[in-house]
Amino acid sequence: MFGTYLVRELSNRRKQTVIIAIGMALAIALVIVVNAVSAGVRNAQASVLESIYGVGTDITVSQPAAAPGEGDMAGPRFEFGADDGTTTDGTTEISQSRLMAGFGSTTFDASALETVLGVDNVAAATATLSLTNTSFSGELPDFTQMQGGGEGGDVMQAPPTGGADGAGGSAFDVNSFTVEGVDVAGTAVGPLTAATLSDGRAFTADDAGTNVVILDESYATSAELAVGDTTDIGGEDFEVIGIVSSTSADATTASNTYIPLDTAQALADLDGQVSTIYVQATSADAITQVQSDLEEALPDATVNTQADLASSVSGSLSTAGDLISSLGTWLSVIVLAAAFLIAILFTISGVARRTREFGTLKAIGWTNGRIVGQVAGESLVQGAIGGVIGVAVGLLGVLVVNRVAPTLSAGAASTAAVGPGGGPGGGFVGGPMAEQASATSEVTLQAPITLPIILIAVGLAIVGGLLAGAIGGWRAARLRPAEALRSVA
């Protein structure tokens, strides 16, 4: 009887059922799309962060950059002696490279790593040294030849020769790339945990103190370097032993190059110094406690959790994240509330219109519970119809998003690394006053559909139906049979 009556009522009130179902479907579809896109944005943020901070990093410890003092404005200084360079055909070629602490990062004593490892609930920690290799090379005219023209102005000076243009001119290139000094022993955390070895080999403990380098795949391609080649870092030759790429298809790794930590410290004249410590907590629940303990143990350090790091993601990915979390969420809430309201109002209006019907049913012995159940059942089915349509429309919406696959640019402010961008031919990047370095990458947004999202959406539709049914049923239950019949008479 319940099912027959329910089906007959809903098919008789088709317009009302369609309106309620559409409202509910719209809301449910929005919830699904917003949730899926939101999860996609979170995944993209995590992907960007992982490419920089590595997999499994819960916390990073770094030192805030000190305010520049007087005279600190100068960038790397290259000094050449009179006999430096090689002169051929009136042109002197000079070249020099320097390795120094990464832009915007400050180094601190490596003993902090021991302090970190001594904190409760720290599962693993590793220290890195972020450096920037800047090379200066150029062509100058041979000044010794130019000075031989004569004195006193009575002899016509010979036209200048040599140099980059053959007429006494000069040309200079300034290139830079990032160098990350890492622990070659290998740890559970650190920037290389988010990288996959695509060629060559990874570091081993034997590489400590040697001039070996692992390159980021993008950097290796742009610098035309391969495993077995030699490259100059800080004025010394390094053998390329491996090429790594980011585990995220769309991101680069944290640095252009990776060298053993002790080698990096020695070359940069930063013995016993590190710039970032990557920390993994024993569990997600312990992160807050570890952060708090680290801040207490290292009062001068900046201690960031993944949540802090996530807020450092910028670019259109960040804009999309903000849009989803604010506009998307509120839009979903408003549409959901409107859908619930429509369902409730239609149900109440339906109960008012069926006063005589319910009065009659009560007169022939139907209990309040049975009538409430009937009204609630009708609303529940209306909500469920909306939910099913909403899930279908929502999945379609997510499919469209994934087909369009919008590409978002993401930048993550980092004290640990300077992203690619300072490759060969790249410009000269700042000095100590340079802005905090930023790793940027293009991320394709993929909105994942998960069972919990669908269950939540269907649950909301059922809650909406039940809410409308409960309110409508309560109104129906309050009708006294005699009054219900009298009101019609």
Binding site: M1, F2, T4, Y5, R8, E9, S11, N12, R356, E357, G359, T360, L361, K362, A363, I364, G365, W366, T367, N368, R370, R480, P481, A482, L485, R486, V488, A489
Partner: protein, 223 residues
């Protein structure tokens, strides 16, 4: 048997107190056919609702057999209505979305019968009112007389002890009125029902064993 003792029913209507029934004492033996007449607003429908366990008196008591209706909980009153009392309304009060068969089955819904048993009893009830072939028709597809027959089938399908009819022929023409009355009288006679009907129609009232007149809430016997 119905027993009403000093029943008064008052309610507030537009800031004034209306007394629909005033100190009514009445006994209706089982199996009796009673017609209640009186002017509009005299208290006929209120009395019928009191007998039908749809209303509780403001004071006094209403008993049906051993059941004291005036102090019974709502759920138990619903149970009494479901098993003991059948209603027939002037406006038929059929559910427009359900077929004749399904309308009759609504009266069996509270009785926890199997779907087969429910359908079988509803079909027999429709046959007993001459509508065995109209079970699949919706109310809108039936004439007024046929709709009232469906309503009567719905009232009797649960084999009630009492059948209460509020102006059962009020919306019908004379010919149909007579058919319906013959049907009700036949059921009353064959099933031993207590039949209480409210009517304005003297021709209908004259068919009853006993006629009551109600005016300004006071009930009197009409010879």
């Amino acid at each position: 048997m119905y027993l009403l003792k000093n029943v008064t029913k008052s309610y507030d209507q537009s800031k004034r107190r209306v007394t629909a029934l005033s100190d009514v004492t009445l006994e209706i033996p089982t199996g009796q056919m009673v017609a209640i007449q009186g002017p509009t607003g005299g208290g006929k429908s209120t009395l019928l609702q009191m007998l039908g366990a749809l209303e509780r008196p403001t004071s006094g008591t209403v008993s049906l057999g051993d059941a004291e209706l005036s102090s019974m909980a709502d759920a138990r009153l619903a149970g009494i209505r479901a098993k003991e009392i059948g209603f027939v309304f002037q406006g038929f009060n059929l559910i427009p979305t359900l077929t004749a068969q399904e309308n009759v089955e609504t009266a069996l819904a509270p009785m926890r019968l199997s779907a087969t048993e429910r359908a079988s009893r509803a079909r027999k009830a429709l046959e007993s009112v001459g509508l065995g072939d109209r079970g699949n028709h919706r109310p809108a597809e039936l004439s007024g007389g046929q709709q009232q027959r469906v309503a009567i089938a719905r009232a009797i399908v649960k084999n009630p002890a009492v059948l209460l009819a509020d102006e059962p022929t009020g919306n019908l023409d004379e010919e149909t009125r007579d058919e319906i009355m013959e049907l009700l009288e036949g059921l009353w006679r064959d099933q031993g029902l207590t039949l209480i009907l409210v009517t304005h129609d003297s021709a209908v009232a004259k068919r009853a064993q006993r006629r009551l007149h109600i005016k300004q809430g006071k009930v009197t016997e009409k010879k």
